[in-house]
Symmetry: C2
Subunit: 334 residues, 2 copies
């Protein structure tokens, strides 16, 4: 809720209607006049694009991908941009412009909408992305779809491209977002700075845009972001490349804060199966590993070799696995 705008916390979307809501939205975003572009307010945005553009989209649904019981609208706004920016980062690209659709129950308190817009505005400023248009509809359940345009200098890094012998590496640390979800869902009592950090990784993930651009420059042969769990995303990378891999769990950069979840799930399991870390998983010629580790050292996210590309098969500590065994499936009954 916004201080100085107390009315928004008590009035609902239905009170102001679509026209009123659009006014609230318009107030929050810039227009393209500084860029010679046309943003929101016409039938479509008019954007300056280069010869080549990146385009991706993701949808977040309340109760599935986020929960307003333990995250704010602001977190949802931030994350809805972050997951898309992560896809652009995984191509070695830079995000530029986005459009957003919001479906929400008419009973939604305007304070939640305003908080959501705060998160969008904050994320847009953080990553220099223009929110250039959108659409709103009623719904039984809140959901947000973002479509993100990006740009890339030279050739993007695709999922296909890994070669046997390449090192498999990951930025930052893994499992933190899943640990944060465990904490939010009531898995821990009390709080601590370390648990807050895990929660932050779940609610306010940081896509690795600078790291992705560095890895492109360093000749990464394939890249994907870790959004559905290392196991599943690694399988996607290897499938696209037509290669296999051998991973050592002892080498995984397990989020050090997971140790704060006393009696919680195993750190290695979270690192392998938990999604949403938005780290980058890539393959790179082993001869460039040292250079990459130096380039991605703090203040960047860090860079860890977790295994090697092989001819085929997914080996985990020497045992053959299936990627699906480790990943998250939004839709399958369980």
């Amino acid at each position: 809720m916004q201080r100085g705008r107390p009315d928004l916390s008590v009035r609902s979307v239905a009170d102001v209607g679509e026209a009123g809501l659009l006014e609230i939205v318009k107030e929050r975003f810039g227009n393209g006049s500084d860029h010679g572009e046309v943003w929101a307010g016409d039938d479509a945005a008019v954007l300056a694009t280069g010869e080549r553009s990146l385009l991706t989209t993701d949808v977040l649904v309340e109760g599935i991908d986020f929960d307003l019981a333990y995250g704010s609208g602001r977190d949802v706004g931030w994350k809805s941009l972050a997951v898309n920016i992560s896809d652009i980062a995984a191509m070695g690209g830079r995000p530029t412009r986005a459009v957003v659709t919001l479906a929400l129950p008419p009973t939604t308190v305007l304070g939640v909408v305003d908080s959501f817009l705060d998160g969008l505005v904050e994320g847009a400023a953080r990553w220099d992305v223009g929110i250039v248009g959108g659409d709103i509809s009623g719904a039984a359940q809140m959901s947000v779809s973002v479509a993100m345009l990006g740009t890339v200098d030279g050739d993007p890094v695709l999922r296909a491209g890994a070669r046997p012998g390449d090192a498999i590496c990951v930025t930052g640390s893994l499992g933190g977002a899943a640990g944060g979800l465990f904490a939010l869902q009531g898995g821990v009592t009390g709080s601590s700075p370390r648990i807050d950090e895990l929660v932050g990784r779940q609610l306010r993930p940081e896509p690795r845009v600078v790291e992705g651009a560095q890895l492109k420059r360093l000749g990464a042969t394939s890249m994907i972001d870790v959004s559905d769990g290392l196991g599943l995303d690694l399988t996607r990378l290897m499938t696209a490349s037509g290669t296999g891999c051998a991973i050592e769990t002892a080498m995984l950069p397990v989020d050090p804060n997971l140790g704060a979840l006393e009696g919680g799930p195993d750190g290695v399991e979270l690192a392998l199966g938990g999604g949403e870390d938005l780290e980058l998983l890539c393959t790179i010629d082993a001869s460039r590993l040292d250079e990459a580790m130096e380039a991605l050292a703090p203040p960047l996210a860090g860079f860890t070799r977790i295994g090697d590309v092989t001819e085929d098969g997914l080996m985990l500590d020497g045992v053959a696995m299936k990627g699906e065994e480790l990943g998250w499936d939004h839709l399958r009954s369980r």
Copy 2:
């Protein structure tokens, strides 16, 4: 449901999970290899774009924007593209590429998903749009968001630009989509070819891409598509242009098939307040009116002058009105 794929009609989304569903989706769309682009299957699509791109997005939610009780998944797929293409058409542009997010209950029968994909594939072929990526999530309620890229030669036609003295014109006919909705919601008994035509305008609207390009060529000074009702969309056009208008209801091209709705709502009211016709509403120098009527004559949609741009105010048959009185608001309580 697809003949020859009987299993899809009885199995649910939960039976196959996200991975299985993605396989079903991938089968249905091309890839960008023929275009030197990368479509679905990587983190983001890689697209050839010109110096200037159009970008728009729309969301359709079950129970609000469509109802599977009276429209097929195929209709939803078609319409989800059509409403976005209409936005591109209203800039005088041509649609090129789209991304789609689909949220749906895991209990959804795969036949519905397959039918939805049929509609997407059919619409993509009809308008030569590549579906280059997407995302799927679970939800309590089905919803579809499409983001559409387009291109435009020269300057797009914006909403701002109408000048006092310009003729206000509309393509095709108005009110048919609202009449079709009335019929679908049980407002008529029995069926007839004329009622089927109204239903077609509701479920399978035809965006006016060729007409939009012609109107741009002819120097239309402002343009918008009629998606929320003539009253509301006209108000938007006039507000953006800083002008007013005088409309004569006797000049409105009321859909002739509305006469088949015996005892139904008044045709002029539907033409003014019903949305979703996806006709183009524009302003044009009065000296070019004859030329435009000739250029848009059948087999194109036709072109009718409905009034004139004035200095300010919205006059309907000489009476001052508010645009909001005539339009559709998705969210306001009523």
